[in-house]
């Protein structure tokens, strides 16, 4: 169960329905946001030194503990710690990122992903930055390593980076705007094929989900936007609703059914569905 | 047996002398009072709202807050120089004729001597023109400073409660300053003096009210309703050097005492 829980379950559903006008707009906006973000992350990749000899450092009072870097680090060289702040009025804890230096290989993913510029890349000892390149300090001991891992020699040609920028939109991107009052759906929409593990009973009964592709094969953009399935874990006794388009949908009695995080053991879930009903009662039980 | 102690004559003499002085001039308590007040109360001037809270906006009003002091200093200068001028000025406006046949009078000739003019009878007063010029210009400066001071008080709303009385005293002081100037340039009995006296007498005679009021005012201020009888010179001299300074000095003391008590009226 633990292994299944550790592996993210994600299956890109094939959207085969005729979209409402507002749904088209929503999708288009999401794709535009994704495209903009990708181009700007590519642009940001030019800002830091990287490679063997580089090291990530966290500016502590800027870090806001958002775990971007934690999630993007492929080498488990970042850990999140709780920092205690005590003030005259009260005290609280704030989450901070710390770099595990022996694991850090100097890839700049965390520095790129940091939304507050809290992570900067510095050269390790034995290395220095000469005219924008990370080179070894003269006289330092070069460990014997395969040539593709050697630090670049001074004067070595640097692979050119394509100048990525913000692409202005084309009219093809834009949605034809129609007044919904005059709008009638053309065809009977086809329900979405939802992955099985998204279905509520599994969440309610806590059975392990079906094996899922590893996160490496997560859907590339443009992927369809998120849905109510991503809404917080609500009360657990509602049946799973099939999701047809909103126009011709019969009365739906219950709020949407999201996937509860797995595995559903009480101390691991933030809000166990059973306990969610009455917090007071849970407080009594803890006593 | 009673043995008289020997008494030191010096001590007795000292006690006698200083006791005699102390009985007549009890200066010690006054000195103590002054030292106490200087040590405790008056060492620190009360801070205005602006100084207290370091408000930084109205810095460009600060120069305007010394206009009252400037007018007072100008008043002091006029008093000092006026006393010196009083030694040499002859308040006599009765006409007599020079050898050239031009009408003149003693007041004008005395002012000419003070001014060190070439055609003055007798010896010119050394540095008299400096004293007269300082009297003249400090009077102008005082009037200008009083006017600007009133404008500052008006535009910064410093006349509001609880300072109405001080505002009224200030208005009276402004009018008295104008009277100072008017009576001042009547004193050298030159053509300007004659014309201004004519206008003043006419305006005094035409003052609204019963007909006898104009006559009464003209007689009171100009000692007559006719310029030709140059009695207005001596009357103006009396007003200029005694009446106005007396009242104005008392009012200035009250004015500044009220400012000290009520504090500087600042917008905040």
């Amino acid at each position: 169960m633990a292994a299944a829980a550790a592996s993210p379950v994600s299956a890109p559903p094939t959207v085969a329905v005729t979209l409402d006008y507002w749904q088209q707009a929503r999708l288009k906006s999401l794709e535009l946001a994704k495209a903009s973000y990708k181009s700007f992350f590519r642009l940001r990749a030019q800002e830091f030194i990287r490679g063997k000899g580089a090291l990530a450092v966290v500016t502590d009072n800027v870090c806001m503990g958002c775990t971007h870097c934690f999630d993007n680090c492929a080498f488990e060289s970042i850990d999140m710690v709780e920092r205690k702040f005590s003030l005259p009025e009260y005290s609280y804890t704030s989450r901070k990122a710390v770099i595990i230096e022996e694991n850090c290989v100097g890839c700049e993913k965390c520095a790129i992903a940091c939304p507050v510029d809290a992570i900067t890349m510095i050269p390790q000892e034995g290395y220095e930055v000469k005219d924008g390149r990370l080179t070894q300090v003269a006289g330092a001991q070069v460990p014997d390593m395969p040539p593709f891992l050697q630090p670049p020699k001074p004067g070595a040609p640097r692979p050119p980076v394509e100048a990525s920028r913000f692409e202005p939109r084309t009219d093809a991107d834009r949605v034809t705007h129609r007044i919904s009052a005059a709008f009638k759906p053309k065809a009977a929409p086809v329900p979405v094929a939802k992955p099985a593990e998204v279905s509520p009973p599994t969440a309610a009964t806590g059975t392990p989900p079906a094996p899922a592709p590893p996160p490496a094969v997560k859907p590339a953009e443009p992927s369809p936007p998120k849905s109510a399935a991503t809404s917080p874990p609500p009360k657990a006794e509602t049946p799973p609703p099939p999701p047809p388009p909103p126009a011709v949908k019969p009365a739906e009695p219950s709020p949407p059914k999201p996937t509860a995080p797995l595995p559903p053991t009480e101390e691991e879930l933030p809000q166990p569905p059973e306990e969610k009903k009455s917090p007071k009662k849970k407080a009594k039980e803890e006593k | 047996m009673v043995t008289l102690k020997p008494q030191d004559p010096i001590g007795r003499t000292n006690r006698f002398l200083f006791g005699w002085i102390k009985e007549r001039f009890p200066t010690v308590p006054w000195a103590d009072l002054g030292r106490q007040s200087l040590d405790t109360v008056q060492r620190q001037l009360p801070r205005s709202h602006t100084e207290k809270y370091e408000l930084k906006t109205i810095w460009y009003w600060y120069p305007l807050y010394c206009l009252g002091g400037i007018s007072f200093v100008a008043f002091l200068v006029t008093v000092i120089t006026g006393i010196i001028l009083g030694f040499y000025y002859i308040p006599d406006g009765s006409d007599f004729f020079t050898l050239a046949g031009l009408p003149t009078n003693a007041a004008k000739e005395s002012v000419a001597c003070i001014n060190g003019d070439s055609d003055c009878p007798g010896a010119p007063i050394p540095f008299g023109f400096i004293i007269r010029g300082m009297h003249h210009w400090s009077a102008h400066m005082m009037i200008a400073a009083v006017f600007l001071h009133m404008c500052r008080v008006y535009f910064t709303g410093a006349y509001k409660k609880p300072r109405e009385l001080n505002w009224l005293i200030g208005v009276i002081l402004l009018l008295m300053t104008l009277l100072f100037g008017y009576s001042g340039y009547l004193l050298p009995a030159n053509d300007l003096s004659g014309g201004a006296a004519t206008i003043g007498i006419n305006m005094a005679k035409a003052s609204p009210g019963p007909p006898w009021l104009g006559e009464f005012l003209a007689n009171l201020i100009f000692s007559g309703t006719d310029v030709l009888t140059a009695n207005y010179i001596i009357r103006m001299y009396w007003i200029h050097v005694f009446v106005l300074p007396l009242i104005a000095t008392l009012l200035m003391i009250v004015h500044m005492a009220l400012v000290w008590v009520q504090g500087v009226g600042e917008p905040h």
């Binding site: 535009l32 946001a33 704030s94 929409p189 996160p215 109510a228 991503t230 995080p261 809000q271 917090p279 | -």
Partner: protein, 320 residues
């Protein structure tokens, strides 16, 4: 790192987000929009997609913080009260410019304002419905939209008399509402205090409880205009969340996506802690809360479906 521009204050965070928003402002090309007839109501979703992207890289929204749901919920609620809005979506509108204005980037704000004003005039909308408090304040005060009414969605639902069907289970829930600064305290004209409370009370099984500070005195959620998120602001957010936790509410609602962002961030950070210290309530946008209770398709149904992964760190750093 003392920023040369912002002085000793640290530079404004979220560099990618604001750099791309500024770059958007440069693109002043007007789109060709086919309008059959001028729309009565237009719904402006705002920057929610960008916030989703901003929060997507850390899996902050595993069912906890989802901004896109505001879009679906708002459209569903507007349809429920009989309004078919034109969507002023991001493909031809720009950011409303609130953050740029309050970060001091006035020229960027003015570009966005002029572009958006031109688009709105071109579409000829009568009423703009926004679902975020900052957009409400910006469109109403900082834009000069003559003849265009700007309404928050709670106002529209309140005026149109939204009817919420009774819930199947009569379980009582305690609901607290966080007044956004922008739509309440900072509005010299018609601030929004009563509409959301009235809408919450139309849910039959909801008990509205007030936080320690509410209405005009409501404490800020901690971060405004997406700048300066650090320990101090997290302390403020923590204060506000603690107020809700002391009241033992089941739902903490807000009408501002930024409040949703920061409350959700704090909620997620808190969810790492052992079970006794976790927050027991959900942080939702009020439109999401209301749309969940409406009859009809579930909120955010197809096609806006993202595959939901499981937070991989639950096992690693969970409580106990």
């Amino acid at each position: 790192m003392i920023d040369p521009v912002y002085g000793p204050a640290r530079s404004i965070p979220h560099p990618i987000l604001f750099r791309l928003l500024d770059a958007e402002a440069e693109d002043t090309k007007m789109p060709e929009i086919k309008v059959e007839h001028p729309a009565e109501f237009a719904y402006y979703p705002g920057c929610i997609d960008y916030y989703d992207q901003e929060m997507q890289f850390s899996h902050l929204n595993f069912g906890e913080t989802d901004h896109g749901i505001i879009f679906d919920s708002s459209v569903k609620l507007l349809k429920a009260v009989g309004i078919e809005p034109t969507i002023l979506d991001r493909s031809f509108m720009k950011c409303c410019g609130h953050d740029q204005l309050w970060q001091g980037k006035v020229d960027v704000f003015q570009k966005m304002r002029d572009h958006n004003t031109r688009v709105i005039k071109m579409l000829g909308v009568k009423t703009i419905v926004v679902s975020c408090a900052e957009g409400y304040r910006t469109f109403k005060l900082d834009y000069k939209l003559e003849g265009v009414a700007v309404k928050h969605i709670t106002q529209v639902l309140y005026e149109r008399g939204l009817r919420v069907p009774p819930s199947k289970d009569g379980k009582r829930i305690r609901v607290a509402f966080q007044d956004p600064c922008r739509s309440g305290r900072q509005m010299p004209v018609d601030p929004i205090y009563d509409e959301p409370r009235d809408l919450i009370q139309r849910v039959d099984n909801a008990d509205l409880v007030e936080l320690k500070t509410f209405r005009a005195d409501a404490q800020c959620c901690g971060v405004a205009q997406m700048m300066y998120c650090n320990d101090k602001t997290k302390g403020i957010t923590d204060l506000r969340m603690k107020e809700a936790a002391e009241l033992e509410v089941d739902y903490l609602l807000t009408a501002c996506p930024k409040c949703l962002t920061h409350f959700g961030c704090m909620h997620h950070e808190n969810s790492w802690k052992p079970g006794g210290e976790r927050y027991k309530f959900r942080v939702l946008d009020i439109t999401h809360f209301l749309a969940e209770r409406l009859e009809g398709s579930e909120v955010g149904a197809a096609p806006s479906v993202l595959p939901v992964a499981v937070d991989p760190r639950r096992k690693a750093s969970g409580g106990s």
